[in-house]
């Protein structure tokens, strides 16, 4: 579903992503692991066609981000973590409906979809309130609903649990697992190895823009001969650094 093929991205003389290759299949939550500045967001932005790869290509559902960006955008939903961008002066419903309309949903279909998402994410109590006064957790729910409003096949989650408390982060991961059961293709980035392991069987580790590992967590454990995830991560980062 997602094929990242020898992708590089340079900003002037900063090489943010260097020759990265991995692929994600449907019904899978794939982990993209890296420290701050590793190039996770840049990779996601290239998948979402906001940035163009300097070299290489990414295919989503068979469509190239270079030559068929609109087809790609139709099929993806992207969620940025941290201080999620919502329109504070609009209600939760208005925020979600706006994006729904931009994906071509209208009328009863749109209303039904919003009600469905509202139930799924337990937003009934605040769906018609303005987003400005919401807590981080509530905002996150609205942002998720917005990401899923057009029922995308491919879901890109860029450090989605940043800023969430433990309960909210747990709930979020349960929801991701549910989406996996529906057969969605999910890319989940994080700087936290423990979190990734709870959800993903396959991961890619990037460091300073370069791919350090792509494969299953189990194989990684075996290769490093260590059990502690943080140790493994450190080992991987240092290995390539030398």
């Amino acid at each position: 579903m997602i094929e990242v093929n020898q992708v590089s991205k340079r900003f002037g003389n900063i090489a943010a992503v260097r020759n990265v290759t991995f692929s994600v299949s449907s019904g899978e939550v794939y982990g993209l692991l890296g420290e701050n500045g590793a190039g996770k967001t840049t990779t996601m932005r290239m998948m979402a066609t906001i940035l163009q790869p300097t070299e290489g290509d990414i295919r989503i559902g068979g469509f190239s981000v270079r030559t068929q960006p609109v087809e790609v955008r139709r099929r993806i939903g992207i969620l940025f973590g941290g201080d999620v961008g919502l329109y504070n002066r609009l209600t939760a419903r208005e925020n979600i409906a706006y994006f729904g309309r931009l994906y071509g949903l209208t009328g009863a279909r749109l209303d039904q979809r919003i009600d469905q998402l509202s139930r799924m994410l337990h937003m009934e109590a605040f769906i018609d309130r303005r987003v400005g006064g919401f807590s981080r957790g509530m905002k996150q729910k609205v942002a998720i609903a917005r990401t899923l409003v057009h029922d995308p096949d491919v879901i890109l989650l860029d450090e989605p649990t940043t800023g969430l408390d433990v309960t909210a982060a747990n709930m979020f991961r349960r929801m991701v697992a549910m989406l996996r059961e529906e057969g969605k293709t999910i890319l989940f980035s994080s700087h936290n190895m423990g979190e990734i392991e709870k959800l993903c069987s396959r991961i890619a580790i990037i460091h300073k823009g370069s791919l350090r590992y792509a494969g299953t967590v189990a194989a990684l454990r075996e290769r490093c001969g260590m059990n502690d995830l943080d140790d493994i991560f450190m080992a991987m980062v240092e290995e390539g650094g030398r």
């Binding site: 906001i50 961008g85 609009l90």
Partner: protein
């Protein structure tokens, strides 16, 4: 589908903007606060200066003559004799100093002429008024002398004034109103056009970029151009709302205010359909130009704050031509102004309000405006579509 997307975005932008107090303040500041305030100040200072100038006219007189009686009989005149008259005049304690030479009355009575010296302060409105008071006293005294001389020669007063002229002002009341409004209205309209869109433009790009919503918007299957078109429309609408509110506010203030002096009837009746059409086209094009410039700056800005700072530039850009053209009568507007950006809009506004719309000027002014608008919008679009322009990192 294309159009519908633009309307969807436009609808959301308007909803968002109209719920924003900052935007509303920006849009209605000039029409609802600045205009009434400026007019209040103008009329206050105008009527106060006028009143004081009339009520009390202190002058000093040296020498003797019957003229002094005439001066005394003028309303408000007080004859003072300060120690240092020249300094008192400088300080504004005296409005004028009348110096009557020796043997003044004798010279006049004997059929000769005499020279009267009046010192006044041209920079002081009240002193200028005193001068006119002295003038009329001198006129009265002169005509007394003239009648006396004519009588002595056995003639009547008509003998030296065979032609009596009555003057009638060719400008109708409506034209006069137009003239007065033509000075201040383009200034206010152009200023509110420029400033009315500032808050909206800042919010809709720099603000959305800062909040990260623009990035999400660009991951949907719509074109960047559609987003920009909708935003441009939204900013233009806010500009035009501001300008319209300013026009209404001006008409209201003119109707109410004590500026309704000298029998000038103030109405908007002087706007002929042709003037109105030119005015509307000019306003829309100016709004588009300002909206384009403001969105460009908003796109370049790295943050909301930075955007706000840049916007000041647009408002100043609007102010300079407006002030430069304010005192100029349309007939005297240099031809060059009809091709310069913003100048051409202000010039056409003036013509419309003077009821003197010139077809060639209109064609050139609107044509060049359209050109500037296209260039600015093309540049904005290019900037907006540039990779990563809307991404914060």
């Amino acid at each position: 589908m294309d159009r519908q997307v633009v309307w969807t975005i436009f609808g959301k932008e308007m909803l968002d903007l109209l719920r924003d107090r900052k935007t509303l303040i920006g849009t209605f500041l000039i029409p609802l606060v600045v205009i009434p305030f400026v007019f209040f100040l103008l009329s206050m200072s105008y009527s106060n200066v006028e009143k004081e100038a009339r009520a009390y006219v202190p002058i000093a007189v040296t020498g003797t003559s019957k003229l002094v009686d005439h001066l005394r009989s003028q309303p408000g005149v007080r004859i003072l004799s300060p120690d240092r008259p020249a300094e008192a005049l400088q300080a504004g304690e005296l409005r004028a100093i009348v110096t009557i030479p020796d043997h003044f009355d004798q010279a006049l009575r004997s059929g000769g002429s005499a020279r009267l010296h009046v010192a006044y302060d041209n920079t002081n409105q009240k002193s200028v008024y005193a001068k006119s008071v002295i003038d009329s006293a001198v006129q009265q005294y002169s005509s007394d002398i003239v009648s006396m001389r004519l009588r002595q020669a056995g003639l009547s007063a008509e003998a030296i004034k065979p032609i009596e002229t009555t003057y009638e002002n060719a400008a109708s009341d409506e034209r006069q109103t137009g003239g007065m409004l033509a000075g201040i209205i383009p200034l206010m309209v152009v200023l509110s056009l420029a400033s009315g869109g500032v808050a909206a433009a800042t919010d809709l790009v720099a603000g959305e970029k800062e909040r990260g919503t623009l990035e999400s918007l660009l991951t949907t299957p719509i074109a960047a151009n559609q987003i920009l078109t909708a935003k441009l429309l939204a900013v233009m609408v806010m500009s035009c709302i501001s300008a319209t509110a300013s026009l209404l506010s001006l008409s209201f203030v003119f109707r109410l205010g004590p500026l309704k002096v000298d029998g000038t009837v103030l109405s908007f009746g002087f706007l002929s359909p042709a003037s109105l059409a030119v005015l509307a086209a000019t306003i829309v094009l100016l709004a588009a130009l300002f909206a384009g410039l403001e969105l460009t700056l908003s796109t370049v800005a790295k943050s909301f704050k930075e955007g706000q700072t840049y916007m000041t530039g647009v408002v100043i850009l609007a102010m300079i031509p407006s002030y430069m053209l304010m005192p100029i009568h349309p007939v005297d507007i240099p031809a060059l102004y009809y091709v310069l950006p913003v100048f051409n809009g202000v010039a056409l506004c003036k013509e419309a309000f003077y009821g003197a719309v010139d077809p060639l000027h209109t064609l050139v002014g609107l044509g060049t405006s359209l050109l500037y608008v296209s260039v600015v919008i093309a540049a904005t679009a290019r900037l907006f579509r540039r990779e990563g322009a809307v991404v914060r990192w």
